[in-house]
């Protein structure tokens, strides 16, 4: 039997399983990228206005870190895609890595692959099918994006390069996930590892792009996300950089195949060590169990947040240091000098930290749903543990965990910033600026709990809400949405700190809304059927 036998059938199975989510994801992505490009061009119709805004973008550290530079300040395409271009690239990478884990390790972990493996399915067929599906989806998303951008009037060459870039980056991260899926036994961990690689790549690019001109600027070239950026669509169209992404994809895929051939079915590269024969005295309640189940993930997140804190603290000192253009000088003055620039940078980055903390909170709270549908809630609820007490277990991890992550990023950024400025007072200011993000993150967690209690099948709405709020904040102004609409997002109500004034009222309101959503969710969960 060939090692690839059955690949075609597995590809069809994967497409059948993802027939709704996959097309929906791609369509939304294409529409977002094309529509935001079109709206940007309408906002800056002539070259003078484009150059002015592009120069401003290129001179603000926070936008450089978040989105990277606009390589050609006169190019309408480069300006039109500077935000959604890279966000779309990251979305494609996330899609690809999730697809690969979903159709390899997750199938193996649940035992479904065993059922298939007993039929005429070759040893390497599952990995091959997953890579084909993920790679195919990435290139389809890329082709759609290219067509969409051309349709809204972007130059064809740059649009095609943008689309090919999406495809190549997607294939590269599909291969990353192909490797991590061989290393560990848990699909969750495999996806987490691959996502972590993506995060590190983004961070390297962010530090590199925000430190352009200094030695650190080269860091962008260590990152596949940086390579994607260096294809420079609409701003020089460097096609050859795509070869780097494809080369990486081929190398990693080869590594994944070697690893897959060397390991047993359902095994990782590390054998399971035996566990304790009796439970530790502390493992005596649902909260202790939830912590036991989530602590590994939390520690990984905590490490990431500490690094992000240190990095943004360090980058804040750069803010404005390489601003020479008159527009930028003008901007500095308006923002209140170098300190104002630093504060503005930190406020933006801490705002994004709030979103990331919400991501942790959402996935931690969604454990409730995962445990229930995996039938692992049932044996617990058949003991003297009540439903509400069980629900609070994972919920506590979500709420306290997200708060603690924000404290960590605040302390990290605050310490570095305080050392650089030589003002110990900065530490407290920045920690507070990080902590004000907490209530908004809690509102998102509240939405997850409410959906869990009322309609657990629709739990994905938790992610939809989070992504929707982020897009509202990112693109609302571009599409000229009214403030009332933008105010739907809890993140819109977070005080812009440091720099801005602390406002207690929105903190209280957001917390009350989060508490109300949690109360609704728990009340619903008490009333509904379990399982």
């Amino acid at each position: 039997m060939s090692a690839l036998a059955g690949t075609a059938a597995l590809v069809r199975l994967a497409l059948r399983r993802d027939r709704v989510v996959l097309p929906a994801f791609i369509v939304i992505l294409v529409v977002m990228v094309a529509a935001s490009a079109s709206a940007t061009v309408k906002l800056y119709p002539d070259e003078a206005s484009r150059v002015k805004i592009a120069a401003a973008v290129n001179s603000v550290t926070s936008t450089l870190a978040m989105y990277g530079p606009i390589h050609d300040e006169t190019s309408s395409g480069a300006l039109a895609t500077f935000k959604m271009g890279i966000m779309g690239a990251v979305a494609v990478a996330v899609l690809a890595l999730f697809l690969v884990v979903r159709h390899t390790r997750a199938e193996e972990e649940t035992g479904r692959l065993e059922l298939l493996g007993a039929t005429v399915v070759g040893r390497q067929a599952p990995l091959t099918a997953a890579l084909l599906v993920a790679g195919g989806a990435s290139f389809v998303a890329g082709a759609g994006t290219a067509l969409g951008l051309i349709a809204v009037g972007m130059p064809p060459a740059g649009s095609v390069l943008m689309g090919l870039g999406y495809g190549c980056l997607g294939v590269a991260f599909a291969a990353v996930a192909g490797v991590t899926a061989q290393l560990v036994k848990s699909a969750r961990t495999a996806a987490g590892l691959a996502g972590g690689v993506l995060g590190v790549c983004y961070l390297l690019r962010a530090v590199g792009d925000a430190s352009a001109g200094s030695g650190l600027g080269r860091l962008s070239w260590l990152s596949p996300v940086g390579w994607w950026q260096q294809t420079r669509p609409y701003a020089g169209d460097r096609w050859w950089v795509l070869a780097l992404l494809l080369g990486l994809a081929v190398a990693l895929a080869a590594l994944a195949y070697v690893l897959a051939a060397r390991r047993d079915f359902a095994a990782g590269l590390l054998a399971d060590r035996p566990g304790p024969a009796t439970a530790a005295a502390g493992l005596r309640g649902p909260l202790a169990l939830a912590w036991r189940l989530q602590r590994g993930s939390f520690f990984a997140w905590a490490a990431v947040f500490v690094v992000i804190g240190l990095v943004i603290g360090g980058l804040a000192a750069n803010a404005g240091s390489f601003l020479t253009s008159p527009q930028a000088q003008d901007l500095i003055t308006r923002l209140g000098g170098a300190k104002g620039l630093r504060d503005a940078f930190l406020a933006v980055e801490l705002g994004f930290s709030g979103v990331f903390a919400a991501v942790f909170g959402v996935q931690a709270a969604m454990r409730l749903c995962a445990e229930e549908s995996a039938l692992r809630a049932e044996p617990l609820l058949a003991t003297a543990v009540g439903r509400v007490r069980w629900a609070w277990s994972h919920l506590t991890i979500a709420l306290l965990g997200s708060a603690l992550l924000l404290a960590l990023v605040g302390v990290g950024a605050g310490l570095v910033s305080a050392l650089q400025v030589g003002d110990s007072g900065r530490l407290g200011v920045i920690v507070v600026a990080a902590l004000v993000q907490i209530p908004a993150a809690w509102v998102i967690i509240g939405i997850v709990v409410a959906v869990f209690g009322l309609a657990p099948r629709l739990i994905v709405l938790g992610w939809v809400a989070l992504v929707g709020f982020v897009l509202l904040g990112e693109l609302g102004a571009l599409f000229d949405l009214s403030q009332t609409v933008m105010d739907i997002s809890p993140f819109a109500h977070v005080p812009r700190m440091p720099g801005g004034d602390f406002a207690a009222a929105p903190m209280v309101w957001l917390t009350v809304i989060a508490a109300g959503l949690i109360a609704i969710g728990l009340a619903g969960f008490r009333r509904r059927d379990v399982g």
């Binding site: 036994k185 399971d272 566990g275 493992l283 005596r284 189940l293 617990l380 609820l381 003297a384 379990v530």
Partner: protein, 306 residues
């Protein structure tokens, strides 16, 4: 109160599917009660209603004198549950799971735990993801059986166990009954219920079709009679209550309804009985009577009683 479980006219629908349709069930304190039914009959749904995981649409359910939905937490201290499909936390060891579930229930008997681990030959240091289906089942069984509880709710508890372990499970359950504990044992494995249960409730399509001790059910069921006679018998063909009659010379095989036994015996003895064997129905036969050979609709002359 001498009913550990009392269910009357319980109904539960999932969308358009009627999982329970007016089901009755009574489990007396101190008995092992078999809940028999084919796949999809509603066995798991009944148990999940009793656990307060599902809320019934209509009907009454009492568990240990309490309301299974409202008093769930209080009642759960007094019972232990073995699910039909045991899914564990992959990175916890079997021993950790046993202790955790025991503690959440309000404590477990350490001596009994050690004894059961030995009898079930279970290694408690393995991580749950490394256990086979049978070993996961053993984890749930050890956790439940080592708890000091009044009532055991067992949903097809021996699925995946090998015959040796099956025997260990039966011993354990009989011991527990000896201590005055109660068990509700759902199963489609007839020999298991036959060996263990004091009384049986047979359900089908969410309804109770038969309740009683096996002795009572046998009373209702046809006997199989095989006899060698002196001469060929007369009159059996037209006799009411006789089924599947086969006569070859002076040898007779037939099945007879309990009410017609007397007349059949009179007819047989009048032909001169040389040898006679009669067999009570096995549970398999009782089962087939209610569900048909392939679990399809019951035979026309045996309408299900509800």
């Amino acid at each position: 109160m001498n009913a550990a479980v009392a269910i009357e006219k319980l109904s539960k629908s999932f969308g358009s599917t009627r999982a329970l349709d007016g089901l009755d069930l009574e489990v007396k304190v101190g008995e092992i009660h078999g809940l028999l039914g084919p796949n999809g009959a509603g066995k798991t749904t009944v148990i999940r209603v009793l656990l307060g995981l599902l809320r019934a649409d209509s009907g009454a359910a009492r568990l240990l004198g309490g309301d299974p939905w409202r008093d769930a937490q209080r009642l759960h201290r007094r019972l232990a549950y073995v699910p039909g499909e045991v899914i564990l936390w992959p990175n916890l060891s079997g021993g950790e799971v046993i202790d955790l579930l025991g503690r959440l229930r309000g404590g477990l008997d350490k001596k009994r735990r050690a004894d059961l681990l030995e009898r079930f030959e279970l290694d408690p240091t393995k991580k749950a993801r490394a256990y086979s289906k049978g070993n996961r089942q053993k984890v749930a069984l050890v956790a439940a059986l080592s708890s000091d509880v009044e009532l055991l709710l067992l949903d097809e508890p021996t699925a995946g166990l090998d015959p040796l372990m099956d025997a260990v499970f039966r011993e354990c359950l009989v011991e527990l009954r000896g201590q005055g504990r109660t068990a509700l044992l759902s199963s489609h494995i007839l020999s298991e219920v036959e060996a263990l249960a004091d009384r049986v409730t047979i359900i089908r399509d969410g309804r109770t079709v038969e309740v009683g001790s096996l002795a009572e059910m046998r009373h209702l069921a046809r006997l199989t009679i095989s006899a060698d006679l002196a001469v060929a018998p007369g009159g059996l063909t037209s006799m009411p209550g006789v089924h599947d009659l086969r006569v070859s010379g002076a040898h007779v095989d037939l099945m007879v309804d309990p009410g017609s036994l007397d007349q059949v015996l009179i007819a047989l003895t009048s032909a001169g009985v040389i040898s006679l064997t009669s067999q009570p129905p096995s549970l398999e036969e009782l089962f087939l009577r209610h569900y048909g050979a392939d679990g399809a609709a019951p035979r026309a002359e045996q309408p299900a009683r509800s």
